[in-house]
Assembly symmetry: C2
Homo-oligomer: 231 residues x 2
C-alpha cells in the first residue's frame, strides 16, 4: 500500500516539520505511525512532500522532509453538478466521486431534492467528505465543494445524465480543455421543466439501467476518465 | 420515470394475474400502486411482462398482462470476484455493481478480509441486495451471488485490479465471448502471495488513485461496459 497522506494548509519549507493539530492526532494516535515510517504531506492543491517519522509525541509527529513534487491543475476539469440527495446518499456520492477523480463538486437544489439546505453545514459536510476521501485515495488535489446552485445557474452546455437520452456519454464529443460539466439528478430524477431551463443542455445516457444518484456520478467519471486517457 | 419492476419466480401465462406475497405487499402497500398504473413483472432471467393494475386489494394487486419480452443472456458476461469487506461496504459494492451491470458476483475470502463468513447468511444478504438493486435499476437479469471461493478457485486469466499494475484496464484486450472476470481486493488490498496463487492473473490498473473496495468494482464495470458497447 502507498504511504498514508496528511493535509497541511501550506507545504513547509526546510527539512523538518512537526505535524500536530487534528492531522497530527490522526497520524500519531489513530493510525499510530512510528519512527521510520513514511508518509506524504499534501497541500490539497497539487503539492506533496515525502516525509519520514523521526519522532512520535502525544498527538504529534516530528518529520524529516524529503522530495517535493507538484501535480499541475487538471485540464480539462471534470465538474459534477450533484442533485442534493436525502440521507447519506449525497455523502456516498461525494466520497466515491472524489476517489474516482472529480475535480470540483457543485451541489444543486433540484425540484425533486427532498432535503433542503438552510445553512452552510451540509455543504461543509460534503467538503469534509471530499477532503477525507482525497486523503484516502492519495489524490494531491482536493476537489472543492461550491455553494449550492439553482437550475438556472448550471453552466451552458452541461452533459445531463438522463435515462431517455438518445446520445451515450461514451460517444459524446469532449472538449480537450476547460470544464466538462456533468449534471446528476437527485433521487427522483430531473424534472422536464428543469431540463428546459438549462442553457444548451446536452442530455446523455449512461447505460440501459436506472442508476441511483450515488452511483451515476462515479460511473460517469469512470467512463470520462478512461476516455480522456487519465486512466 | 420507467414503470416499477416486481419479481416473480415464473412469468404467468394468460391475461390476468394476482401479485401477492412480499412483492404484492410492496406494490400495493409500500409503493401504493393504484388502478390504471403500469408496472413490469420480471422473472430475473431475462423475461418481462408489461402489466396494468386493474384491482387493488390489501397487500395484493390484480393485474392485466400485456406484452412479453425476453432479453438474451449477456455475452460476454461481466463477473466480479469481490473480496469480502467489513461493515456495509460489501453490500454497497453489490448494490452499485448490480446497477452498473455486473452479470455474476463471486464473494472471495481473501487473506486481508477482516470479516469471516461462517454461515450462508452473509451470502444470502448479498443475494437479496443484488435482487433489490436489479429491481430498482430495472434490470431483467438478477446477477447471481455464488458461494464464497478461496484464492486458488479464482478462474485463470482473471483481471486483477492492482494499483501498481503496468497495464490499464482501459487498454487490456477483452474477449468477445465467455466470461470477463475482474478481481477486487478487500479493504486492505490483495496480498502478494495471493496474486502469485492466481493462475495467469493479469494485474490491471484503474486510474492513479487508491479506490475503496466498494468503488473499484462499479468503476471497473463502467469502463468495461463502455468498452464493450453496452453503454
Amino acid at each position: 500500500m502507498s504511504a498514508p497522506q496528511f493535509l497541511v494548509p501550506v507545504l513547509p519549507d526546510g527539512d523538518v516539520f512537526v505535524l500536530d493539530g487534528p492531522e497530527g492526532h490522526h497520524a500519531a494516535t489513530v493510525q499510530r505511525l512510528r519512527v521510520g515510517e513514511r508518509l506524504v504531506l499534501c497541500d490539497g492543491s497539487g503539492g506533496t512532500a515525502a516525509a519520514t517519522v523521526v519522532g512520535a509525541g502525544k498527538g504529534s509527529l516530528e518529520l524529516s522532509l524529503g522530495e517535493r513534487s507538484y501535480e499541475p491543475a487538471p485540464d480539462p476539469r471534470l465538474v459534477v453538478v450533484q442533485g442534493i440527495a436525502k440521507g447519506d446518499r449525497g455523502e456516498l456520492a461525494v466520497q466515491a466521486m472524489t476517489e474516482v477523480g472529480v475535480d470540483a463538486i457543485v451541489p444543486w437544489a433540484a425540484v425533486r431534492s427532498v432535503a433542503r439546505w438552510t445553512s452552510d453545514k451540509p455543504r461543509q459536510r460534503w467538503a469534509d467528505t471530499a477532503r477525507e476521501a482525497a486523503k484516502q485515495a492519495r489524490r494531491s488535489w482536493v476537489p472543492p465543494v461550491a455553494a449550492p446552485v439553482s437550475t438556472k445557474d448550471i453552466p451552458a452546455g452541461a452533459l445531463v445524465l438522463h435515462e431517455e437520452a438518445a446520445l451515450a456519454l461514451s460517444a459524446v464529443p469532449l472538449p480537450s480543455t476547460g470544464d466538462i460539466v456533468v449534471v446528476v439528478g437527485p433521487e427522483g430524477g430531473i424534472a422536464p421543466e428543469e431540463l428546459a431551463l438549462m442553457a444548451d443542455a446536452q442530455p446523455v445516457r449512461l447505460g440501459p439501467s436506472v442508476l441511483r444518484t450515488s452511483t451515476a456520478g462515479p460511473a460517469a467519471l469512470a467512463v470520462l476518465s478512461a476516455r480522456l486517457g487519465r486512466w
